[in-house]
């Protein structure tokens, strides 16, 4: 009960911060919109290659693009935490009886909500580009994006709590997100890749997420990839959240 109460307080506090400058919710949608407008037309010419059925490239590209947004959009939330560490806000929270996990949960849930709003908006923008999407599958995929967002946000917060300063945070997060996105078949289908690259992608949890998201958008609910995606990302989200929590508790030790 107390955990729920504290998480709610922390969620509201962080949501207030987001709503104070809501423009940034839209600014961080700029990158995926650029991909949609300036990169997707390139794929149309590739229609028919393995992994990209001709005439349906948008249906394959958009679910992957939302994974990309979940990866990059949530990866840099740690900077806001460093600000709170520097001004002593986190220490102030830690000497109150507030539950430790609530401090992080309130943040990652806010991040997940912001991400979902972005995902819905990007999908709406993509409809005039010919996107056809299974509605039930779309809503299920939102849960998947939320889990990816929680995963990346937890990683970001974990490093923020370890470094406590901005300088090393951006390079660290870039080093993590870039290979994860390249090895997930978001930009171009992995079916085009040489075998060694495909094998490497198999150890990337986010390639499972991309497969699951594409199956959900297409409404292929029998596809085993959906369950695989949820399990892999679900477990990962829990593991990295607990790691981030450990970093928070270590701050007070």
């Amino acid at each position: 009960m107390k955990m729920l109460h504290d998480t709610k307080l922390m969620f509201i506090r962080n949501m207030q911060h987001t709503l104070r400058s809501p423009i940034f919710v839209f600014v961080s949608m700029f990158q995926p919109l650029m991909y949609l407008l300036l990169f997707m037309p390139l794929l149309n010419g590739l229609g028919g290659v393995p992994g990209l059925p001709s005439g349906k490239t948008v249906d394959v590209f958009i679910p992957g693009l939302l994974v990309l947004q979940a990866l990059f959009g949530s990866a840099f939330v740690g900077f806001s935490l460093i600000d709170d560490i520097r001004t002593g806000v986190i220490e102030r929270f830690l000497v109150t009886p507030v539950k430790r996990p609530a401090i992080l949960l309130g943040r990652v849930l806010r991040d997940a909500l912001v991400l979902l709003i972005q995902c819905v908006l990007i999908t709406l923008v993509a409809i005039p580009f010919g996107l056809s999407v299974n509605v039930g599958g779309f809503f299920l995929s939102l849960l998947l994006y939320a889990l990816i967002g929680i995963t990346m946000a937890s990683i970001s917060y974990g490093f923020a709590l370890i470094y406590k300063i901005e300088d090393p945070l951006a390079p660290t997060l870039n080093t993590i997100t870039l290979p994860l996105s390249l090895l997930s078949g978001i930009i171009l289908p992995l079916a085009l890749a040489p075998i060694w690259l495909q094998d490497l992608a198999k150890i990337n949890p986010f390639s499972y997420a991309v497969n699951a998201a594409r199956a959900l958008f297409a409404g292929n609910f029998q596809n085993i990839g959906i369950a695989e995606g949820f399990i892999v990302i679900g477990v990962l989200a829990i593991v990295v959240f607990l790691w981030g929590l450990r970093s928070l508790k270590k701050m007070a030790s």
Binding site: K2, Q16, R86, T87, G88, E91, R92, V95, T96, A252
Partner: protein
């Protein structure tokens, strides 16, 4: 444990591992501290930067885990009953910890809710503290627009919002202008008058002297001496009394008389004046004047100067506190 002890520590120690070139090194920030803070007093923890003041305060507020030693805060065991300590102790760190993009009211309401108060009570307390610390004119503005003194008031209100019996203040007036300092001193005294026990760290001698009932001087992670400000100052030696006379002759006579009649640590005559080092100079002065008057040795002026805590720090550490600051 004795009933009226609010903080009691035995051998409280904290070591940090610092990474340096050529391996890790253990740094002992607090080297075994014994503290006894009585209910209702202002206990001053006085020392230079890096002496271990903040580390001790962070241990007492459950933010840092002691490496060894034991402590009881409000009767709760620091190692086992952290929840109870957090609920009943108020804490204001050096950074303060106000959320700068939120308003004062938003900060206060959330803080009260974190202590488990419902939203109505939280709002009521926030309004009370805004009134009490004279924050009404700015409390609805974001905290980033506050002056140093205004922000400090908000910080202390945040620490007090749940009406704790014990308040830990880490350098509450550092970096403030004289008016803001005086205002905060007044507020801290009011809290004491209401029965709140206050543990205060400071590097200012005048602050410790004016506010504290008991002072512990900490240097290099160790408590060097503890006592009331008066005890500490008298441990340095007596006050200095200077009697000025019209002529050197009168001064000589006065010196002879005083040497016969009283036990002074030092009597010395220079020119027209007699310098006297004596315990309890304030009380002695009227007697001495009567004594001199009785022999028709007319005193022109008398000056009394008392030892300061600076002298105390100098005596026990061999260094001046101000020297440390200049480094």
């Amino acid at each position: 444990m004795i009933e009226d002890l609010v903080i009691e520590t035995k051998g409280l120690r904290k070591t940090f591992i610092s990474k340096e070139r050529g391996g890790k090194k253990e740094v002992e920030a607090v080297k075994g501290i014994d503290l006894t803070v009585r209910k209702g007093e202002i206990y001053g923890f006085l020392g230079p930067n890096g002496a271990g003041k903040s580390t001790t305060q962070k241990m007492l507020s459950t933010l840092l885990c002691p490496t060894s030693g034991e402590a009881k805060v409000l009767g709760y065991d620091l190692a086992k009953q952290q929840e109870q300590i957090r609920q009943n102790v108020g804490c204001v760190s050096q950074a303060g910890g106000a959320d700068l993009s939120s308003t004062g009211v938003e900060n206060l309401v959330l803080q009260a809710q974190l202590y488990g108060l419902d939203i109505l009570t939280a709002k009521k307390y926030a309004a009370e503290f805004a009134e009490r610390f004279q924050m009404n004119s700015f409390v609805d503005r974001p905290a980033q627009s506050y002056s140093g003194g205004q922000k400090r008031r908000l910080d202390i209100a945040l620490g007090m919002i749940h009406h704790p019996q014990l308040l830990l203040l880490d350098e509450p007036t550092s970096g403030l202008d004289p008016q803001s300092r005086a205002y905060l001193w007044g507020e801290i005294k009011k809290l004491k008058a209401e029965g709140v026990t206050i543990f205060l760290t400071t590097q200012y001698m005048d602050e410790a002297d004016k506010l504290c009932d008991t002072i512990a001087i900490i240097d290099n992670g160790k408590i060097i001496v503890t006592g009331t400000p008066a005890e500490l100052k008298s441990s340095v030696g007596g006050d200095t009394l200077i009697f000025n006379f019209l002529s050197e002759e009168t001064a000589r006579k006065a010196e002879t008389l005083l040497t016969e009649k009283i036990q002074a640590e030092r009597i010395q005559t220079t020119d027209h004046s007699v310098h006297l080092n004596i315990k309890d100079g304030e009380r002695m002065m009227p007697d001495l004047l009567r004594l001199l008057d009785a022999k028709n040795l007319e005193t022109q002026t008398v000056t009394l100067s008392r030892p300061s805590l600076d002298d105390v720090f100098l005596k026990y550490t061999g260094r001046s506190l101000r020297e440390d600051e200049r480094k």
